[in-house]
Symmetry: C2
Subunit: 226 residues, 2 copies
């Protein structure tokens, strides 16, 4: 099986994607990007997940997106609380062009390790508001990738963006990972954890996670703030 | 005139691009990415250029691409010396997927400042070996940009990548900038400067620059190592 690259955030979705890629028998080279997000405890979660799932390698690239501003995840803007889930509006937690940058870095890693498949945990269901989680965006990135790379130019290599969770509900993702043996207690989802690392329980990400475990009928190992 | 964003490396080409965008009357928001390149003195050159050409803003985003490895510009690999210029081989100074990542960040800035035109100093003549300096790559990025962004989704905004130097020789670029009053003594091109900041004179970048000034018939203000 050829090597693949996996974008690992430390959250529930990307941990499930790594477990899926491992289950296919690939050597998985993981990339975590520390882009100055509020929830930096995610980075440590990503290290735990890569180790627990026995990834072939794990690199952490730091990038200070706070110098750009423009998102509640990286700037000094309040994270929304108890927002109605599933409305189509793009939330303030949208980071401009984030997946373009993240996939660009993942593509760089793919070139370096000789991978042609890029696994990401993008999901078009719960986060329909994020433009760069849509299938048409991912297909456009594949076209770009062939034109952007040494491998594409020299050998006509085609890159494939694999987003196996794209059309799955959070509950479905959790059941899938549960069946693959993912230890979700290692993962972190909260956008705005307490100083001791407890999940806030009220941001969009916490609420989607909590509801997902309930709907999946799987025990939620998350420690929420009281 | 609408605002635009300009990728500013601190080198000769991007300084010329900024001067061109300013001459068109745009408010120019500049982005410099410190990606752990050997020639970090470029970052200071970018600050000087943005100031001298009176850019509307200048942001520097740090990103540690050394964590990925894979290029002579960011890893511990020797920079090639006195290499035959103009051969079609992709040089070891190629940084995997660099322009995908840099344009991704520039697109993020465009969203933040409300710009629709992204100016970059890509050149397909001297560096024909870099896949991500080709026109077909830039067009594919424009397609991606519309799909990747809030503005593209909500208002159908189209982004344009402007690479006005794409088909110009180095001598032509220098004459152009010279006529626009660019002070090239502020810019830096060398891949591997001395500890005191002198240009080495032998890397690809120095040799292209030197030859460009000669062919343009413009005095080269660069201080080369003896």
């Amino acid at each position: 099986m050829p090597p693949v690259v996996v974008l690992l955030s430390g959250g529930l979705d990307s941990a499930t994607v790594l477990a899926l890629a491992q289950a296919e028998g690939h050597a998985c080279h993981c990339l975590t990007v520390d882009y100055g997000q509020r929830h930096r405890v995610e980075i440590e979660a990503a290290r735990r997940v890569a180790h627990a799932l026995e990834a072939s390698s794990h690199r952490v690239v730091s990038m200070d997106l706070r110098a750009l501003g423009g998102s509640a995840l990286t700037a000094d803007v309040d994270v929304p609380r108890n927002r109605e889930l599933g409305n189509a509006e793009i939330p303030v937690t949208y980071v401009p062009a984030r997946n373009t940058v993240l996939l660009g870095l993942l593509l760089a890693l793919a070139e370096i390790v000789g991978a042609r498949e890029l696994f990401i945990g993008a999901n078009a269901v719960d986060y329909s508001g994020y433009p760069d989680c849509r299938p048409e965006f991912l297909r456009a990135f594949e076209t770009l990738a062939q034109l952007a790379t040494r491998a594409g130019v020299e050998t006509g290599a085609r890159f494939r963006v694999r987003a196996p969770l794209l059309h799955l509900s959070k509950a479905h993702i959790i059941r899938l990972g549960h069946d693959l043996g993912v230890d979700y207690s290692l993962t972190h989802s909260c956008y705005d954890p307490t100083s001791t690392g407890l999940a806030c329980g009220t941001c969009d990400s916490c609420r989607l996670r909590r509801r997902g475990f309930e709907e999946a009928g799987v025990d939620d190992p998350t420690q929420y703030a009281p």
